[in-house]
């Protein structure tokens, strides 16, 4: 049995080596992607474009605006003369929010308990709008407290302490996540063609009539890619660690072990798809369409799963990247001891094995039918 697996394994290796261009792509693409998106993806919302309509034109009004613009959060991008201009300004995207200081603002500030300013926000991007709104609300409360410093003092102080990622750098969150997402996509695409290719070129029959068992075919077809995927993973993690300085607090060997399991699961998914479609084109397209968006949106890579509707949370259980994301972040950022992460790892093993078993069964049917 061993020699038969070995034969398939060797054949698969020859396939890989015969196509050096794909090999270069498999190693170059992930590095390029980590480099690009590690830099591009940030959560920090800064420099929100602010317009000003100052109908008061007093020192008090100017001070209010200066306090706002001197923060990192807002950038003054236009001064309006009338309310009628706001619509056009929003449509040309010159500003996201407009601060209107009505006539009599300064006078009211000296005489009445409340003096009102108006803010109009372009709500089309709900996320930016919400953040802008929260910044503005907080700013006006702070400003009110400052103005009345003699009478009112801040009675409660917030003392936040942030663990694992004290500077709240999003790169530390994004880059390990990217590793998981990219590995999942590449690995699934790698194996999705293997079986389909044989079927398309007609060599499947030859293998099927040979004395190789279906489990041996699957094993021989998966093993070389596990090696390839693991090498790929190591290259990407080392690159992320060196280039972005993402902390690595845990045990590298444990990460390596878990990466092996994760890669196994992703490759199994590729095999699973490969075993049910008639040709490479279908296999590749099926894999791409079914993994790309879920790997990014349903894995917790960017959007926290806890905030999603229950149905989507349930669906996320079948996205392998979800488990590895927890593992790689826990090991790299938290420095969690490896054995504590047995739960997600166990799930990956079970999931991968289930997919392999289904694929093997599928082969048997093929063989008999």
């Amino acid at each position: 049995m061993r020699s038969r697996i070995y034969a398939i394994l060797r054949k698969e290796f020859i396939h890989i080596l015969r196509d050096p261009r794909s090999l270069v792509i498999v190693f170059l693409l992930p590095i390029l992607m980590v480099l690009l998106y590690g830099h591009a993806i940030t959560f920090d919302i800064r420099d929100i474009r602010l317009g000003l309509l100052d109908q008061d034109r007093t020192p008090a009004a100017r001070e209010l605006v200066e306090g706002l613009v001197s923060s990192d959060y807002f950038r003054l991008t236009g001064v309006l003369q009338s309310r009628e201009e706001i619509g056009e300004a929003f449509l040309h995207r010159r500003m996201v929010a407009v601060l209107i200081i009505p006539q009599g603002f300064a006078a009211a500030l000296g005489s009445r308990p409340q003096s009102e300013v108006q803010v109009i926000i372009d709500g089309s991007n709900a996320n930016t709008a919400t953040v802008a709104m929260n910044y503005l609300k907080a700013y006006f409360v702070t400003r009110s407290l400052q103005l009345n410093a003699q009478v009112m003092r801040t009675p409660i102080e917030l003392q936040p302490r942030v663990w694992y990622n004290p500077d709240l750098k999003s790169v530390n969150f994004i880059v390990p996540g990217l590793v998981a997402v990219i590995l999942m996509l590449i690995c699934a695409l790698l194996t999705s063609v293997t079986v389909a290719r044989e079927r398309e070129t007609g060599t499947m029959e030859q293998i099927l009539v040979s004395p190789v068992r279906s489990l041996e075919i699957i094993a021989g077809k998966t093993l070389p890619y596990i090696l390839l995927g693991l090498l790929d993973g190591i290259v990407v993690v080392v690159f992320a660690w060196l280039w972005f300085g993402v902390p690595f607090r845990g045990e590298p060997l444990w990460l390596l072990g878990y990466a092996l399991i994760f890669i196994y699961t992703c490759l199994s998914f590729g095999i699973f798809v490969s075993a049910r479609v008639p040709n490479q084109q279908m296999a590749l397209m099926m894999t791409m369409v079914s993994t790309l968006l879920p790997a990014i949106l349903l894995s917790g890579f960017i959007f926290p799963l806890a905030s999603m509707p229950k149905l989507l949370q349930l669906l996320s259980y079948i996205v392998p990247a979800k488990y590895f994301l927890v593992i790689i972040r826990s090991i790299m950022l938290k420095g969690i001891a490896g054995p504590l992460l047995w739960q997600p790892a166990l799930f990956l093993v079970l999931f991968g094995t289930l997919l392999i078993l289904i694929s093997v069964k599928r082969f048997k049917i093929n063989l008999e039918g």
Partner: protein
């Protein structure tokens, strides 16, 4: 012309005959649209929190209630053993720990500032920042209430002057995030499907050897090309119509602007995606290579187009690179048309960019294709 029609017919027959292909082209994308529109929300909910109330007074309990009632926090654990809080964060059972110190209420009564400790798992810097913002907001309303309560009837009240902002939101009053995200998903699905079919279509015929048969047929290369691409373009348009119906029926997104304008932009955009697919097809030796290149391009389209992450927040260099991303312009166009009913007057720079991209990418692809076919 008749010859082109024959090829078009052949492609349509091929697609129709292939039920798996129909699944990939229609069912899978629409299914994803149905689900994923709910994924992306600007709010963070159910933040698992452990409360450590060492004060246990009516004041502290009121504060805990305020945190609970905000609706953002899932007060999953209560634990007064301060040195155990570490464990909750380490094993991920909670991401936020709020510690109310033992002297919290007494200090407040004496008029001294009291501290409120918040420990958080900073891994997900986004969620942490948002959570901190929520707590800050809760505290601020608490502070304002306390101050108002203290000042009521007292002499100092006359001295107080507050600035009260009156915030109003235009276009999307309820700040529904799906209004913004769903059009983006529609664009991405269109991009994915059309690039994919064009990228796979030709390389496949070459790999399995049927391309030679087409090449020896009495056809001009441009006829072959048009015949191959027109069905893909039609598929893309059908896809968009389907997706828009779903977007309207399920997510009730507003379609405020001119649909005809959107249709024209879509046609222009299709030149880019089909051209890219063709280019990939002509440049790759195997279907797998074509797929890896497609993956790379689709990731670039998705992550650097403003679809998921606003471009304004990126570092300058990355903003510059994103100018090379055609999807960036189309995502903006569809959102502006839908939400703000923008017109050509507001969108001509994007239209121009898309025209240039379409022209350049498509001509490049055709040249590449012709040189490969020789």
């Amino acid at each position: 012309m008749g010859k082109i029609l024959h090829i078009i017919k052949k492609e349509f027959i091929q697609v129709r005959r292939d039920r798996g292909m129909l699944m990939i082209l229609f069912v899978a994308p629409i299914l994803q649209l149905l689900l994923l529109g709910f994924v992306i929300s600007s709010e963070v909910h159910n933040i698992r929190t452990v409360i450590c109330d060492l004060d246990n007074s009516s004041t502290s309990r009121l504060l805990v209630e305020r945190i609970r009632n905000s609706g953002y926090f899932d007060l999953a654990f209560f634990d007064t053993r301060q040195n155990h809080l570490h464990d909750y964060l380490d094993n991920g059972r909670a991401v936020v720990a709020v510690v109310i110190p033992a002297d919290f209420s007494t200090r407040l009564q004496r008029g001294e500032p009291a501290g409120l400790q918040v420990l958080m798992d900073g891994q997900d810097s986004n969620t942490s920042t948002i959570a901190l913002g929520y707590i800050n907001g809760i505290l601020q309303s608490e502070i304002m209430d306390q101050i108002e309560g203290k000042l009521q009837g007292s002499e100092a009240a006359a001295e107080v002057h507050l600035i009260s902002p009156n915030l109003r939101v235009w276009y999307n009053e309820e700040l529904k995030n799906s209004d913004y995200m769903v059009p983006g998903i529609v664009v991405f699905l269109l991009t994915m499907v059309t690039t994919l079919v064009a990228a796979m279509g030709l390389v496949r015929e070459r790999e399995i050897g049927t391309l030679e048969q087409l090449l020896v047929a009495p056809l001009h290369k441009h006829e072959l090309l048009i015949g191959k691409l027109v069905p893909f373009a039609v598929l893309g348009l059908i896809e968009v119509v389907f997706a828009l119906c779903v977007a309207k029926l399920i997510y009730d997104i507003p379609i405020a602007g001119n649909l005809g304008l959107l249709f024209i932009f879509t046609l222009v955009y299709l030149f880019t995606t089909l051209g890219l697919g063709l280019f990939i097809s002509a440049s790759s030796g195997t279907q797998q290579q074509a797929m890896f290149l497609t993956l790379f391009i689709l990731m670039f389209f998705m992550l650097m187009s403003g679809f998921l992450f606003p471009i304004e927040n990126m570092p300058r260099v990355m903003q510059g690179i994103s100018l090379l991303n055609p999807m960036r312009y189309f995502v903006l166009v569809i959102r502006e048309i839908f939400i703000k009913s923008a017109t050509v007057r507001h969108l001509y720079p994007q239209g121009l960019a898309l025209l240039i991209f379409g022209g350049v990418v498509f001509s490049f692809a055709v040249l590449r294709f012709q040189s490969r076919m020789k």
